[in-house]
């Protein structure tokens, strides 16, 4: 499948991936993240059940302390 990940084109061998699998694959190990699939927020409790498919637009935003 081909998806957009943080506005960049990415290709994966499998037809779909859960958010958990995608994060592991991309080595996103940040403790706190905002993840959006096609503009919809995906919360931490939904990472293992939300599936990303071909054509999806995925945004991963790292929460960084400071202010």
């Amino acid at each position: 499948m081909k998806i957009k990940l943080n506005n960049r084109d990415e290709s994966f061998d499998s037809d779909n991936l859960t958010i958990s699998e995608l994060l592991k694959f991309k080595n996103f190990t940040f403790k706190m993240m905002i993840i959006k699939v096609n503009g919809n927020l995906v919360k931490k409790s939904q990472y293992s059940t939300t599936v990303v498919i071909d054509g999806d637009d995925v945004q991963v935003l790292h929460m960084i302390s400071g202010g």
Binding site: K31, M32, I34, L61, M63, I64, G66, G67
Partner: protein, 197 residues
């Protein structure tokens, strides 16, 4: 637009500022100077000496509540601004009550978990509300990697890299740049509906 025309538009707007630390105090002052009519500011904390390296307070204000003190400081700059201050710890329940009437909300917390909380709360409870967040501003130098970008109704200001630590403290210049980037983004949203971002 002339400044007179700008003030006429901004005078009817309400901006919510969640947190009155380095981001919130400097952002609120910038918005008050240009004439945003109503500011709703909230913070539970008191001013400490260590805050003065970046926050808009004065030495003799140490020990006072940030929210009420910021209101007083704004009054000294622009007495025509209606400032509603809340000494309150913000959470997913009181954020919608406090900020529902705003045109834009500025996220001005220091801790990552609070930033996460307000972004999730605004997405869940106020999906149409523009939210301007500050992510990554610790340390010094590297001005050119500080930037603003838009992701749906969420506007992100900062370098999205540099997290505060013992050896990478938050300091006036970079925190001030991001606070003013947030204020600048608010103007963009209020004056041209965020079109240029």
């Amino acid at each position: 637009m002339t400044f007179k025309e700008i003030k006429k538009i901004l005078g009817n707007k309400t901006v919510g500022i969640a947190g009155c630390g380095g981001l919130g105090s400097n952002c609120a002052v910038a918005l008050a100077r240009v004439g945003v009519g109503r500011l709703i500011i909230a913070d539970f904390d008191i001013i400490e000496e260590s805050n003065l390296n970046r926050q808009y307070y004065f030495y003799d204000q140490i020990g006072k509540y940030k929210a009420t003190t910021l209101k007083n400081n704004i009054r000294l700059i622009n007495p025509y601004i209606n400032v509603e201050s809340h000494v309150q710890e913000l959470n997913s329940e009181n954020i919608p009550d406090l900020f529902n009437c705003c045109d834009v909300i500025v996220e001005a917390f220091d801790k990552a978990e609070m930033k996460l909380m307000i972004i999730e709360t605004v997405y869940d409870e106020m999906p149409e509300m523009p939210l301007v967040t500050g992510l990554g501003m610790a340390g010094w130098g590297n001005s050119n990697i500080l930037r603003c970008r838009k992701s749906d109704k969420l506007y992100i200001c900062g370098d999205e890299i540099n997290e505060v630590s013992e050896v990478l403290p938050p300091l006036a210049p970079r925190v001030g740049i991001v606070a003013n980037m947030q204020a600048n983004t608010v103007l963009e949203i209020l004056l041209n509906k965020g079109e240029r971002l």
